[in-house]
Subunit: 275 residues, 3 copies
């Protein structure tokens, strides 16, 4: 995958809005409604089918499938297995959001079990989660505080590259400076956003869902960058009129709705290479 | 059931606000919080009991029971079975929201299994879902895109009438022009609302819950029309001050809170008969 | 536990903001997202781990564990058992929010089963729920309407004291006048808040989560009062600018974010003793 240009990224964002891909979300109960609303604001079509009897069938027909490990249960874990098998069988990729992997044992095993069926085409997590998934750290609990990262994307870049290479996946590491790493080790950095994103539950989870949608209309590298650009630029717009993290959330949906590819092109700054 | 007049519809809406019926919702995890807030805004009392150990007991005592098939799991499906059996045993009706029925197999079977215990007194769905449930189409997957309708209420009116006749149910088909069909084939049409309703996850699901509440204080035909009137008129009010689908959602709750039966009577337009 | 002063209460509120304790929430699917957002607005760190495979491990390391019985299922009930066992084993307290206990049988048994492992250090409920848990009433369904209280904190003060004494727990009874009762029978009353709190689903549930967080940085008596003070004073602020229960909810998060311990100290009125 070549490093995406600003033009390619904005084009993917525009295609998300015009093609409105079906994004299947097997996600956690905390953020399910919010995730669906973020996708709808960006004009994608969420489908939240996560039971084991239908998840595979849905995955076969969806444009994208997101597996988010926020609140797995036995039944939804079975749904995730079915969905990943169906994506593998039909030669389609899937997106992994490894919430709290490395801190909690069962979901860490589940993440590796799903990746053994077929590695995800795209992984979106915070620095602690990515470090925990990386080959060197596999199985070793890190010092993460559950869903909060205790390290930075910069600090875990070697681990992100190792994971991307091992799985052949694009790895998006969220943080103050978002890093997106290709299987070849190329890096795109974005420094947009607002601190209130960390004060709304499921900002990262919603980013994973948007990335799944954008990847479906482009490729995982371009898609991960486009989703990060869309969410963080919209966050800048939303923060301007909001009075706190509460009013910021609906304003973020309004801003996502309004952010077209041209407005993105005017403001988006991507940094590539070492630096 | 006779075709409800504007007076009867507004009266049902007013009674929802004054009687505050207990509405049991066995609904999906994506919209559960939103549904409860919509019911509370309209002054109803939501009770979200959906486990198989208590769902039947709750259904016996609730004023209304809504079964929404958005994210069924084995456990919640068992809860739905218990709830419908309890409503049947106590001679009370129930409301079915057949989310994505026709597209996904397991829930389609579940819908028919529940209807075999006792047909719902009221069904609320989009055009694709209603067409999939209708006798002619039973078991045949339609071309729906999951939760989105790919056809219109007008186009599936024959199927809606067939379903209403077969089950003896009122059938509410949501779309740009909402259609409510009685078991006898009478039709009431409403052309209120706003496109942002389709950009908030669970608008339709919340309509099903409101319809359950309104039917509990009137009859299913009047109740389905009253709920549709309430939600779509409130949507018109909410859209006026909102900046997008994000700020539209809380504004919709404010508007539902403020919309009394008199304000409804001033603006509500019902069309009946052919045309 | 001594009766907390205004200073002690405001200090606990300030410590919640600065220490940002990890609050594990085993809560219901209706309010999970809202609860996480309330905790984040108050600067606490929510962790919503509720599956039986990880709930115990999470409970061992969390600063606080909340068990809310709003929508229990077999799997999440098993998670609650594991979490309470882990808190007991590590000598840490836990917080019970007995939603609809007394009205529904299975969860009433579950509440008593959990308390038999280790009584909660803090119970937060409405008057009907507290009365149902109290020794005199154990097992007898009360006249509650599910999640709504049909009696007042004043009326159930004897039951609250009996429950507090039996379990050695702090008991917080929510209502128009909030009552917090110590194991010794001391009472603190707060008369802040706004009626719209009853029109947003999960206000009480979020109070339970805040109380868990505040108790983790002080003691259960001080913590329950601090959480009640924080939520109800923020509600007064939020109601000023809101147009209804819909816009009130995000405004409440903004107000929680802005309410520091000094502002709390200026306005908080605590009443103690009889009267």
């Amino acid at each position: 995958m070549t490093v995406p240009t600003v033009e390619a990224v904005c084009s993917a964002w525009g295609q998300l809005r015009s093609e409105q891909p079906l994004v299947q979300c097997l996600t956690n109960v905390v953020v399910a409604g919010w995730t669906a609303n973020v996708l709808l604001a960006a004009r994608a079509a969420p489908v939240m089918v996560d039971n084991p009897f239908e998840a595979g069938d849905c995955a076969r027909h969806a444009s994208a499938t997101l597996v988010n490990l926020g609140t797995p249960q036995q039944a939804t874990a079975d749904g995730m297995r079915e969905a990943v098998r169906a994506r593998q069988a039909t030669g389609q990729g899937w997106v992994l959001d490894p919430v709290a992997v490395g801190v909690l044992g069962w979901r860490t095993e589940l993440a590796h079990e799903l990746a053994a069926i077929a590695p995800p085409s795209l992984v979106r997590g915070n620095a602690s989660e990515i470090a925990a998934l990386a080959p060197e750290s596999a199985g070793a609990p890190d010092s993460g505080r559950g869903v909060d990262a205790t390290t930075t994307p910069e600090a875990v870049l070697p681990e992100a590259r190792a994971l991307a290479a091992q799985w052949g996946s694009v790895v998006a590491v969220s943080g103050e400076t978002d890093h997106v790493v290709s299987p070849d080790g190329e890096v795109v950095r974005l420094r947009h956003g607002h601190p209130w994103l960390t004060r709304v539950t499921g900002s990262g989870c919603a980013l994973g869902a948007l990335a799944a949608g954008c990847a479906a209309v482009s490729d995982p590298f371009t898609g991960a960058v486009a989703a990060t650009a869309g969410l963080t630029l919209a966050a800048e717009d939303a923060a301007r009129g909001a009075g706190g993290p509460g009013s910021f959330a609906p304003a973020l949906l309004d801003a996502l709705d309004q952010l077209g590819p041209d407005a993105m092109a005017e403001r988006l700054v991507l940094t590539t290479g070492e630096g």
